[in-house]
Assembly symmetry: C2
Homo-oligomer: 403 residues x 2
Amino acid sequence: MANAPKANAVVGQSGGPTAVINASLAGVIEEAVKHSEIENLYGAVHAVQGMVKDEFVDLKGLDAKTLDLLAASPSSALGSSRDKPDEEYCKKIFEVFEKRNVHYFFYIGGNDSANTAHIINSLADKVGYDLRAFHIPKTVDNDLLVTDHCPGYGTAGRFVASACMGDDLDNRALPGIKIDVIMGRHAGFLTAAAGLGRVREDDGPHLIYVPERGFSMEKFCSDIEKVYEKFGRCAVAVSEGICDENGVTWAARIKEDSEKDAHGNIQLSGSGDLADYLAGKVKQAGFAKRVRADTFGYLQRSFAGFQSPTDAAEARACGRRAVEYAMEYESGSVAMKRTGNGANYGVELFRTELANVAEKTKSMPDEFINAEGNDITPAFVEYAAPLIGELPKTVYLANNAKV
Amino acid sequence: MANAPKANAVVGQSGGPTAVINASLAGVIEEAVKHSEIENLYGAVHAVQGMVKDEFVDLKGLDAKTLDLLAASPSSALGSSRDKPDEEYCKKIFEVFEKRNVHYFFYIGGNDSANTAHIINSLADKVGYDLRAFHIPKTVDNDLLVTDHCPGYGTAGRFVASACMGDDLDNRALPGIKIDVIMGRHAGFLTAAAGLGRVREDDGPHLIYVPERGFSMEKFCSDIEKVYEKFGRCAVAVSEGICDENGVTWAARIKEDSEKDAHGNIQLSGSGDLADYLAGKVKQAGFAKRVRADTFGYLQRSFAGFQSPTDAAEARACGRRAVEYAMEYESGSVAMKRTGNGANYGVELFRTELANVAEKTKSMPDEFINAEGNDITPAFVEYAAPLIGELPKTVYLANNAKV
């Protein structure tokens, strides 16, 4: 391995924003300024779009206070993009890199971003250009391979858990059926976090449905009816990605139904339709009067002033570590290995090859989902609780002994 | 006025929960234990339902630590009720009060709760029974008369402002149209809070629609198109209570449309339908590809671990003050008068008659809404900013000078 070149660096943020993706960016910046090998640090405006359009902002000039504010700011401060570059697109990026004497590339994102870094790095290899390409993991879905968990998940999970805690108390006060639809098209980790705030025996959500298990409308309604009979109310968390027994998402099925409608007035392409549809089915079942549904939507990944301290610290450490690795290695993705659980929770960062993370995703392991497919297990709680951090304690009095 | 009787007290929480209604309850409890005139303090389980069913929990035995946790817990810890008692219903309550030697009644809620306290108090007057009936204001809608603002509003407003700050940053990262539907069927105060986090000139929400102004779908779409042309994106806050020029809510109009549908599969009775409908209309207008909508739903009033410090302190003070008033007066509602603004913000509590608060509600004053009816004014920001407390500072870099 050659010595780290004295050259410029590019950093970008890709895909759906999270509440800590800027913490990773702050980590990259604060580490980069320590290394004289990195002359300029260019922030790519709107990710790969800025890289092909040659649109960058300077990042080395930010002071420490701004970096701390940046690290606490939700969303992608450099702007993002949903473009998935193919080899042709990557060639254009590489041309801009050559022109700007960029030999370091840091890309914060999910598995697609790891793939982009991988393609660009391969192009550089072909022509013997020393490009150091590093991926820094980011996703609220927690679905990347190799790493124990992803920066972004802990904060989104903390949001979902806090929302469901409050929502369950609300449902106690005015009892009925409450359905909450949570992000995560393929992996159920974020929906599963709905259960992390449960303390009392009758705390909700009482039922949790993840996309890893087939979702039957009949079982859904009868599950809820059972809980309703027991507690006089039922709080439910459902992933937006739930599929029927044929693997077709319920969201797609509902959309198909709506497109058959001739009136043309009803638009089911927004984000509240699955929740409303499920609420409608439970109402039709007829056993409960008060049925309400919420879709948590973008708040899960973007709420301002709200982070899991663990998640924010890890995201920032991953950013710093990517720059350190770039001084020694040619490419890689930063990953986390868990060194302990509960009070001994901790992680070690390590480097894995880009190819190990590129394109692929993972789902919830079976041990995190109960046998009935309608709840999480203690193994999941052990896994996820340290990531979201300590939750507030709450008091409910109406079940106290009557006087 | 007779001396305060040595007797028992009842406290209840009514209507939609808020994130600080338990702070008011904690205030009642901590003040009640200081007064030997109050022998037992009974918490009415599920509000008036517990009062007619004679279902109460003891509240004098709670320790200081539990009271602090209670004050920080969202929702109504005693359970709530949507029942609106008429005179017959109130007679039954009064019978239970007589049986239990209850001469103090504290009711935390909105204008309906003030009315309930008023009716029960009148019944007591008729038979010469010394009942001290006090209403403690609560509502996220901020629509009660007399008081400058209502406990519950500041925290809900803080949630909405924080959500919209993050959502706007998310919309910057992946530009498009984003519509957020916010609680408040008749008063626009909560929707207006969406604009309190704006700092940069191009910060969203760029458009805010409250129920105090007629909502035209044509103007809505053309307003958005103008912003979209200017900024390449547009974030919008819309009240769930918006009405057409005839005073019919858009939510009702959409429901009517959907009921005409013969397929029976589409349920528009949940809470996401207005947002999806609006997004559909903007998509139809055709000037923007990416249109998304969220409905903030119950999270606005129930998110765990999230309070405006000012709101929480005021809610608790109102609870304490109600008990103090009960030692001196026969009835009343606790209200707040503002003593200063900005850095000099403060309130004085005062007593007003129950009849002044019962049943009636207020709307946003004209000076809080801009001439076009699609935004708030600086006067509103001056009014609401101290109630929600300081918001986090955020950093956005993509608009910095290009290098």
